[in-house]
């Protein structure tokens, strides 16, 4: 029978004393609830049988580093799988929107803001808001143009909402799909350092559409010059976000193909924005000519 003294609980409170005794010992410290929070991971502590405590991973920073690289992957038919795409906080969404509004040359939107946590909240709700913004502002501008005419009967033009929704959601999903496919194909031919996952591309496209929401609202102003200046600004901002995101992905490729890719991206974006805005604010041709809209 072991002596009672052998089973005594050893006090490991004095880390410095232990370190002084065996300078070569590796020690692990464990935070208890009453201990001071200023625990340093490198503090040497008692030796021997505490190796399993390290495996328990009581150090929070170690745990988060381990888990950051691997997301919990549930099978795609469970609800939790889709919850991983909505794992953003309010401030993160605001940061991403801010990043899409202020493109800084040299800073990649994906690397800086998304950081391997792409979300679907932003793209979905920005597209939804954009659909309603375009429909409502088109409606309003038509109303304002015909204000004062006795013969004009106001109609809410409800069908425009469904058409706008189809176009914008198709753009926000199909173009990233095509672009992702294209980049994957080029990746197999040319070794690119930077490659994006499908969701990251969807994320970039979704957030880049944010600038069009205030643009659509401001398009109510019936002045032609103002409208086109607004479109130019919006196109410049969101086009540059997209270009700066995708340039590193095609940079190593054949020069012509890289340039063609970037030009196509920007061109499609132009087509969407100008097309949607002009179409939603369209009016009858004679009225258009009369008011020069």
């Amino acid at each position: 029978m072991a002596a009672v003294g052998d089973l005594q609980f050893e006090e490991f409170g004095n880390a410095a004393a232990t370190a002084a005794e065996n300078p070569g010992a590796t020690t692990i410290s464990i935070e208890g609830p009453g201990e001071s929070p200023a625990h340093q991971a490198g503090l040497p502590r008692g030796s021997g049988g505490e190796e399993d405590d390290e495996l328990l991973g009581n150090d929070d920073s170690d745990k988060t580093e381990l888990l950051a690289g691997q997301k919990k992957s549930s099978p795609f038919w469970t609800f939790e799988y889709y919850q991983t795409f909505f794992d953003v906080d309010t401030y993160q969404v605001f940061d991403r929107i801010k990043g899409s509004l202020l493109p800084i040359p040299g800073k990649n939107f994906v690397r800086l803001y998304i950081r391997s946590n792409p979300d679907l909240y932003g793209p979905f709700w920005i597209c939804a808001t954009l659909v309603f913004a375009i429909a409502i502002s088109g409606n309003l501008s038509n109303f304002l143009i015909h204000l004062g005419e006795k013969t004009y009967h106001y109609v809410p033009e409800f069908r425009k909402v469904s058409i706008a929704a189809t176009i914008i959601y198709a753009y926000a999903w199909l173009v990233p799909l095509a672009l992702w496919g294209f980049l994957m194909w080029r990746n197999s031919k040319v070794m690119n350092i930077v490659s994006y996952s499908f969701l990251e591309i969807v994320c970039v496209y979704g957030y880049s559409l944010f600038i069009y929401i205030p643009t659509a609202v401001l398009w109510i102003i019936p002045q032609k010059a103002v409208r086109w200046i607004l479109v130019m600004i919006a196109l410049g901002v969101s086009g540059s976000v997209l270009a700066m995101t995708f340039w590193p992905a095609v940079r190593e490729d054949n020069r012509r193909i890289a340039l063609a890719t970037i030009v196509t991206i920007v061109l499609l974006h132009t087509l969407l924005s100008v097309g949607c805005l002009v179409w939603s604010h369209s009016c009858d041709l004679p009225v258009c000519l009369r008011y020069k809209c």
Binding site: T90, Y91, V93, Y121, T129, F132, P156, E157
Partner: protein, 236 residues
């Protein structure tokens, strides 16, 4: 036996008096018959509870549901933090409100040649699919509210907007003009704010704290679209 009871009471700080210590003192004499009748006084409505809802009159059934719906309407009109809407959710109220709203918003003639206002089915679909989308969104963000509870809250908080629709229809009976529009705009804005405040009071607590704004924004968009449809309604 008493000793066992005593030792089992040991771990406490002060040993309480063992429970059945006095039992050994009781002796039952052999010649007193232990028999008789036991009557348990039951309150009358407990007996009713098992089969009552089948046997009651139709009026009772309807009135009970109507009272529940009415009580929830009151909760929406005077929103304060309570979970009556969440605890006993029902979808009667949202159905009544949605049907009323859709009936009032639909365009009167079926064959209007131009793009007109929404049809009955379109309003219905917008309200219900909008509510479902918002509920899915809040669940995906990690909120702990059940699907139907959220539908219930969103549906009941359309009540102020339905009232706004009624008021707008009445106002539109008067002559049209900018004053008419201003009155309608004011009413719709007030009711829109009321809806948002009411639904936030019920829904905000079920969201994780750093995502509340993310969950509330779709509600804002939803009621904004409905308010827009109400505001732009013009009778044919």
């Amino acid at each position: 036996m008493a000793k066992a009871a005593e030792s089992s009471g040991e771990p406490g700080t002060t040993s309480p008096r063992p429970l059945f210590a006095g039992l050994s003192d009781i002796s039952i004499s052999q010649d007193i018959p232990v028999e008789g009748e036991i009557t348990i006084p039951m309150r009358s409505h407990i007996r009713e509870f098992d089969s009552s809802t089948l046997n009651e009159s139709v009026q009772n059934t309807i009135m009970r549901d109507l009272k529940a719906v009415g009580k929830k309407f009151m909760h929406v009109l005077y929103p304060r933090k309570s979970n009556t809407l969440l605890r006993d959710w029902d979808l009667w109220g949202p159905l009544i409100l949605c049907v009323t709203l859709a009936l009032m918003l639909q365009r009167s003639s079926v064959d209007s040649e131009k793009d007109g206002g929404p049809q009955f089915a379109e309003v219905f679909v917008i309200v219900w699919f909008g509510a479902v989308t918002i509920t899915l969104n809040s669940k995906l963000l990690g909120g702990n509210i059940s699907f139907f509870q959220s539908l219930c809250v969103l549906g009941y908080c359309i009540l102020p907007l339905t009232v706004a629709m009624l008021v707008c229809r009445l106002v539109l009976l008067a002559e049209q003009g900018p004053i008419n529009f201003m009155v309608r705009l004011f009413v719709v804005i007030v009711m829109f704010t009321w809806s948002i405040v009411a639904s936030t009071a019920f829904l905000a607590d079920s969201q994780p704290p750093n995502r509340k704004a993310l969950a509330i924004y779709p509600v804002f968009l939803f009621y904004f679209v409905i308010s827009w449809m109400i505001l732009t309604f013009t009778p044919q």
